[in-house]
């Protein structure tokens, strides 16, 4: 079932996954045959060849290359961005993509997109991996279908987290995994991933799951976040503002830490009072964590390394 055990003539299933799980992957598996599918193996063991993603269309542009028009875009879900492209060799969907570009450029209302695509990872000479996706089919959807996708993807992610945790302390062999009931479609991915990724923390993917479930239960703040980030052209990458935000977060953490961390949401509320959107706040916290200045005390509670 699933993944590489299928014969090459069988259609690969569409893996439901959030952006974060995909862009944090850097293991590419490619069969030796000419028509063997390429897989991106995530830290949770998903073998991704085809995927189903959804979210807010956050970028959509046409580029004219030597071999004809091609397109690039970004879809934002509760955990981050999926980068996608449409090749010049896919003329059958160009007309539909052109419509999407036009609609995006009009910038009248946010566009929720659901897309089926193929993993198209790219490895640089120095070993870095960019996980991208080549669009196969897509459609604009409404909030309800998006909510359905969020629940379905949360479910799929929880399933992977569960099997990942069950597999952790076992000898990495298909027979052993099968014996404890790990699903066939994940076995080979979990084994390859285990030989490649070190210190995987499945809890980080719980953040996306919780946000997705919250939204689909009618906690609409997730929608407004996305609408904000779409209209927010001051943009996450802008250097100067990001330094300022970092400083605000640091100050707030140092001032408010009772010893066991500061609730994530209170940081966001503090930033909101300074006019900083939640998405910018989150991105900046991520940057600080990458810099090693901020760490997660326990789930949902942050601390600064200079506290205490």
């Amino acid at each position: 079932m699933g993944g590489g055990s299928l014969s090459r003539f069988t259609r690969q299933p569409a893996i439901r996954l959030f952006a974060r799980e995909y862009f944090e992957s850097d293991l590419i598996e490619q069969g030796s045959g000419e028509y063997d599918p390429t897989f991106v193996i995530t830290k949770l063991g998903a073998k991704v060849n085809r995927m189903m993603v959804a979210g807010l269309l956050e970028g959509m542009e046409r580029r004219d290359g030597d071999s004809g028009a091609n397109y690039r875009g970004k879809i934002r879900d509760p955990t981050g961005l999926h980068m996608f492209n449409v090749g010049s060799f896919q003329p059958e969907i160009h007309a539909q993509v052109e419509e999407l570009v036009a609609k995006f450029d009009q910038n009248e209302e946010p566009i929720l997109l659901l897309a089926i695509g193929k993993a198209s990872p790219y490895q640089t000479d120095d070993g870095g991996v960019f996980t991208g996706m080549r669009l196969e089919e897509f459609t604009m959807i409404g909030g309800e279908r998006y909510a359905n996708w969020l629940v379905e993807t949360a479910d799929a992610t929880l399933r992977r987290i569960d099997f990942f945790q069950k597999s952790r302390d076992l000898e990495p062999s298909p027979d052993v995994y099968r014996k404890v009931g790990i699903a066939d479609d994940l076995i080979s991915g979990l084994i390859s991933g285990r030989g490649h990724y070190s210190s995987v923390d499945p809890d980080v993917y719980m953040v996306g799951v919780l946000r997705a479930l919250d939204y689909s239960e009618g906690n609409l703040s997730a929608v407004s976040i996305q609408a904000e980030s779409a209209n927010d052209d001051s943009n996450d990458d802008s250097e100067s503002s990001s330094e300022q935000v970092k400083e605000w977060i640091t100050t707030y953490l140092l001032a408010n830490n009772p010893g066991d961390g500061v609730p994530y949401d209170s940081i966001m509320n503090d930033l909101a009072s300074k006019g900083i959107s939640r998405s910018v706040g989150e991105a900046t916290v991520d940057l600080l964590m990458e810099d090693g200045l901020v760490f997660e005390h326990s789930f949902g509670f942050l601390g600064h390394i200079d506290s205490n």
Binding site: M1, F9, A14, S32, E137, N148, V151, E152, S216
Partner: protein, 564 residues
């Protein structure tokens, strides 16, 4: 003449005459070479004799040595004329049997071997082989061996390897245990059905049926016995090619019967070497108990089964006449049956007392065979006495118009073809050729550019259909809705769809479908055909899931224990 060649032949002589002095052997070869100008190749036989090797060994050793050796890595390098080939292979299967060659019983074996045993998987080529030289002990499945002195055989364009009496098999890597000898420990009938090669079973004889078949080459008729044996784990059909004189109900031990597959159904083959004897076990289930146990659910029927017993509810029954190829007028009866596990067709060649006015009628059928047509099993009743009309219903009458047995997509895709099933998944592709199509009036095939593949340019018959892919994240299957199902799903008839496409274009029609269905969770109901191309679900109904996302989310939280 090089010394290397002499060395090689000295080695070969020593293999046969182990006690000989190598120097003496060399001397002998050199004497032939210098005194008689005979190269070692030609003096080999004489030298062997001089060192008192038995005549038989001399012959076989000489046969190998006389031809040039061709050493290859891949089967692809071999031509149909090649003999005395040396190649390293992996043994995949090894099945021995007794074959009568020119009136003499010979132990031969056949099986599969793969070349390039150390290459990455998927790159090896697989060939058949025949072993005429009883090399069983060196050819255990799974082992890697070097074959020397084997030859290529080509028959009807297919090449295989012949391993001869004089061939040498050198084990490079041990495989599993040798399976050349029939196993004598009995296994359950259920397990036997999953095996290949020889098995031993103990079972009760449930049915016997003598038949005469005419040989394909027209050389006459052959009497065979077909039947069924059962134990507590299940039942299996058998064919006996030799005498088989047992009464229905006897308990038998059948040792060394080979398993063969007819369509999707395994069958025991009882041949000359199979030992069949009466077995005594007073605790073994009797015939009636086994009959109850071997009654099959409709979902378990496979193409090619025989002696099947089923209890079912007949929901539709019709008489039909046709003229066969000999111009005879024939009548048969057919219809649909259901049980709690599924639905299938039933066909009778004799009239059976089913009153169409009184449907649904419950029947118990015994000893019938199963064919499949387009993936739906079809129970064939040859004689009216195979059917018993049941006076009382074994279950509350099933409403056939709404009887769908739920299956996970994975079990459908990995199972056989079934009818009357429903499954869930998301639509992950809406094919661009959804909508109006034209079919060939002769063969119903879809026309491309107004022409049929077989019948050329024809006036097409208009039809509509929807083609999609359903996927549950681990498996996928094609979904096809025919004209009637498309009309039901869209709530539009073919004329309305035609005018929609005429006015707004086929693309806008497909875009609309995508917008409704892509990424949408659906329940499909209908039948599922499975072949080596994958699974195709012929949906009678396609229902879009209407559970509100919030409820689904709560279910997911409950399933995984995620707090709000």
């Amino acid at each position: 003449m090089t010394t290397a060649e002499v060395d090689e032949y000295v080695k070969r002589v020593l293999e046969q005459a182990k006690d000989a002095d190598p120097d003496k052997v060399r001397e002998e070869f050199e004497k032939y070479l210098t005194d008689f100008l005979l190269p070692p190749k030609d003096s080999f036989r004489s030298v062997l004799r001089r060192f008192e090797v038995s005549e038989e060994k001399v012959k076989s050793a000489a046969r190998t040595a006389y031809r040039e050796t061709k050493k290859v890595d891949r089967f692809a390098e071999l031509g149909s004329e090649d003999s005395n080939v040396t190649i390293d292979v992996k043994v995949v299967t090894y099945v021995s049997r007794i074959q009568t060659v020119r009136g003499e019983e010979k132990q031969i074996a056949f099986g599969w071997i793969e070349d390039a045993p150390y290459a990455e998987s998927g790159q090896s080529e697989r060939w058949d082989f025949k072993d005429w030289g009883e090399h069983a002990e060196n050819m255990a499945p799974g082992s890697v061996v070097r074959m020397e002195g084997v030859s290529v055989n080509e028959w009807k364009g297919k090449k295989s390897l012949n391993i001869n009496r004089s061939s040498r098999i050198v084990v490079l890597e041990e495989g599993g245990p040798a399976v050349s000898l029939p196993t004598s420990d009995p296994i359950t009938i259920e397990e036997a059905g999953t095996r290949d090669g020889f098995v031993t079973v103990v079972g009760r004889l449930m049915a016997v049926n003598a038949q005469t078949i005419s040989k394909k080459d027209g050389s006459g008729d052959l009497d065979i016995i077909k039947g069924k044996v059962a134990d507590a784990s299940g039942a299996i059909g058998f064919v006996s090619w030799s005498e088989f004189d047992f009464e229905v109900g006897s308990l038998l031990r059948i040792e060394g019967a080979s398993i063969r597959r007819f369509r999707d159904t395994p069958e025991l083959n009882i041949g000359d070497r199979t030992k069949v004897e009466v077995f005594h076990d007073s605790n073994f289930a009797d015939k009636n108990q086994l009959e109850d146990a071997s009654r099959l659910d409709i979902s378990k029927l496979t193409d090619g089964s025989r002696d099947v017993s089923v209890v079912a509810q007949v929901i539709e029954w019709k008489e039909r006449s046709f003229t066969n190829s000999d111009g005879e007028q024939k009548t048969l009866w057919g219809g649909e049956i259901v049980d709690p596990t599924g639905r299938c067709r039933m066909t009778a060649w004799e009239e059976i007392p089913i009153d169409v006015e009184k449907l649904p009628v419950f029947v118990s059928v015994t000893g019938v065979r199963v064919r499949a047509w387009q993936g739906t099993p079809d129970i064939t009743i040859d004689r009216a006495d195979q059917v018993e009309i049941l006076a009382s219903a074994p279950w509350d009458a099933i409403d056939a118009s709404n009887h769908w047995v739920k299956h996970e997509l994975g079990s459908l895709v990995n199972g056989g073809s079934v009818n009357g099933v429903e499954t869930e998944g998301c639509i992950v592709s809406v094919r661009s050729d959804c909508g109006i199509i034209h079919r060939c009036p002769e063969c119903r095939r879809v026309l491309r550019d107004h022409a049929c593949n077989d019948h050329g340019a024809v006036e097409g018959v208009k039809d509509m259909r929807l083609r999609m892919v359903i996927d549950d994240g681990a498996q996928s299957a094609s979904i096809l809705l025919n004209g009637a199902s498309t009309e039901t799903y869209l709530g539009k008839n073919i004329d309305q769809v035609t005018s929609q496409i005429d006015n707004f274009g086929a693309e806008s029609f497909v875009d609309g479908l995508r917008s409704d269905l892509l990424g949408q969770a659906v329940t499909a109901r209908g039948r599922c055909l499975v072949d080596d191309q994958g699974a195709m679900f012929l949906a009678e109904e396609l229902e879009v899931s209407s559970t509100p996302p919030a409820d689904q989310s709560k279910a997911v939280r409950a399933k995984w224990g995620v707090a709000v």
